[in-house]
Symmetry: C2
Subunit: 413 residues, 2 copies
């Protein structure tokens, strides 16, 4: 992974010190070095008790699904997995129906993932699935894996069932939890190389905390973003790979929910807005706004050097369209990267759009681990510089209270 | 469709006059009243020459796919269509492979959609498909429908083939073209009720130009957005329906590409940034940023009163999770709307977040037509108030020129 910045700034070192200090209390920093024995044991036990599972169904929302989905969907089209992973993450009845149509219930294992243990969407869907299993007379035994905080009501609930229960370390926030059991348990079951995933994360972590290349670049980038947060209040991640679409969704949660806060030492509302776009598709949608619109955006372009799979434009000359013969015999892998390079050149040329580029050698577990940890560290750094607590989400409480009241008062629904 | 604004402003009438004036030269305003005979003929001819088509494959990008995809994907889970529609809209080789795996080539008909006729992505994929057909010895005859501007090189090319060719009115821009042949031709072939779609659009149009309810509300909303464009530079569309996900992508292009411009009377860069999010999923991702973050966002919440399909949470009491028994027997249709209502209440309660709500009675063609035209009119109004030309996209040219040079210079790719 390489990262090149087309802007410069004097790095704010105090934020680096703050991350070094919080390393002992904020749990996600430790995930790359976690002991994986518990997962080995879980997997062995799982395979003993479940012989015919072809579908893993994730009942989880936000931090309980976005990271896992990003890794799975990014790898899915280049690897053959023995099981399919499905996501139930909405209360939209049509979406639930559409997703369940792809699942054979008697060959499915369900993950109920909720850090707090009492997420309303997750509980609603869990109950619905229990109802379906009962209707179909499918045994519940060992059909569920619960992933939650130790001591949560969901853990207590799991004890009343013959099931599996795994834990999220309590000091690991939902949106920073992809490298905990939340992401790793389902990925381990489908034979994703989770060691390589953690190894990638560890390389970035070490380079950062041992004052390597990543420290310099992350500090500069974070400083630039935080310092200019009122001018460039939108941070665009422009990925030249359709497979990375779900990583942009993961990034949106990580960035938006961590940085959109009241400042710790005031009641000021601050924040940076993440936007994920996909190349070249969004050249025909969002690019015009970046190029000619208000100068309120930074742009990070992600390129994949080698897609692991390629096809070629044949040498076909089209009558009347001979002007486009220059693409003949070009591989699509080359074309998409030429497109990315052209955009980078055009954006840098503007002079007043802060651009940086991230390049991954290929799509594999190690590189995904790097990408994940890179963004987590960047988020922590920017949070310190903006004076906000990256790890809570107090703003979403009020609507939960309102919903609870509405639910209690529903007489005639 | 109802639209309720939780903010107030004195409407800027000159923009209304400007839209009335440009009505005769900007083509999209006429689409609701278009004569559909050409489509009837096309469909008849198509069915005569193609008897076994089960897949329609759209080769198009940006305005040549987003609107059609939005309508198709929104209706898909509630209707049974005789043919499937697939979209090839990226040069990512993995994405092309993944999409084509779902297509039986000998039962497929291909749409090559390009307003200019020389879109590079579209041409590359078109050549690739021609190569595949030739490899598989599948006849090309009548296997393609070209949709393009009259007089384009693609039209000229189509004449060298036994094929179908349909036109986009030249004064209809790509992102405003969903109600032209671009969207209507494939939709007509799968028996979507395109008359109802146009009728919905027409109702909104009439209410606007005949000084009805829609005129007042759109003028107020547009005025508020334009007037506060430096403060609230981000316009969030928060849809409580997974099916509407692709409409948020359509909205992103329409809004971003139309409003992100150099001002007509200056070289100032202005623009409004569209963000599409989906409820309740993004309550667990983006909501925190809206509630506690910088006050730089307006929020439009879209609700569907009746999902046309529903399932119910069974009466299952979960040990240790009894606190959540209040959702028992609730339908998911009710739950998702209660969630939307709670968010609306919480956001309005903040007092400094501009909120409005759009409610559709159900998901059908007529309501989608209304939604489309509502956003097109809003875009035109805001463009006038911001002093930009809504209908071009000059900013994307430079990167095209750079790419062209790179393609000409590629010696060793």
């Amino acid at each position: 992974m390489t990262n090149k910045l087309f802007f410069d700034v004097k790095p704010e070192l105090s934020a680096y010190e703050a991350t070094c200090k919080e390393k002992s209390s904020v749990g996600y920093y430790d995930l790359p070095e976690q002991d994986l024995d518990y997962l080995e044991e879980y997997k062995k036990d799982f395979n003993l008790k479940n012989t015919n599972i072809e579908h893993l169904v994730i009942i989880g929302i936000g931090g309980s699904s976005l990271g896992l989905k990003a890794i799975y969907r990014t790898l899915k089209n280049t690897k053959d997995f023995s099981k399919k992973i499905h996501f139930l993450e909405s209360t939209d009845p049509i979406a639930i129906k559409a997703e369940l149509e792809k699942v054979e219930l008697n060959k499915a294992h369900f993950f109920v993932i909720s850090k707090s243990g009492t997420t309303i969407e997750t509980t609603a869907i869990y109950k619905y699935i229990l109802g379906l299993l009962s209707d179909e007379k499918i045994s519940e035994e060992y059909r569920f894996t619960y992933v939650t905080d130790k001591g949560s009501l969901l853990e207590a609930h799991s004890k009343s069932k013959k099931s599996f229960c795994l834990f999220i370390p309590t000091n690991v926030g939902g949106r920073f939890s992809v490298l905990s059991a939340v992401g790793l348990a389902p990925l381990a079951l489908i034979e994703v190389d989770i060691k390589a995933l953690l190894s990638g994360a560890k390389q970035i972590k070490n380079s950062f905390f041992e004052s390597g290349y990543i420290k310099d670049i992350l500090l500069k980038k974070a400083t630039y973003y935080a310092k200019n947060s009122m001018k460039y209040n939108i941070n665009t991640l422009f990925v030249y790979s359709e497979s990375f679409k779900y990583f942009t969704e993961w990034y949106v949660q990580l960035w938006g929910e961590s940085l959109g806060k009241k400042q710790l030492n005031s009641s000021f509302n601050v924040g940076l807005t993440p936007v994920g776009i996909i190349g070249p598709k969004d050249q025909h949608s969002f690019l015009q706004l970046i190029v000619d619109g208000l100068r309120d955006k930074t742009v990070t372009v992600l390129k994949i050097r080698n897609f692991n799979y390629d096809i070629r434009i044949p040498e076909i000359n089209l009558k009347e369209l001979e002007s486009l013969d220059s693409i003949n015999k070009l591989s699509f892998n080359s074309l998409i990267n030429l497109q990315a390079d052209s955009i980078i050149e055009a954006l840098v040329d503007k002079g007043d759009i802060p651009v940086d580029t991230i390049e991954l050698e290929c799509i594999n577990e190690e590189n995904l681990g790097k990408f994940i940890f890179y963004y987590e560290l960047l988020t922590s750094l920017v949070a310190h510089m903006m004076g906000v607590d990256a790890y809570g989400q107090p703003g979403v409480e009020q609507s939960k209270v309102i919903l609870k009241k509405k639910l209690q008062n529903r007489g005639l629904l």
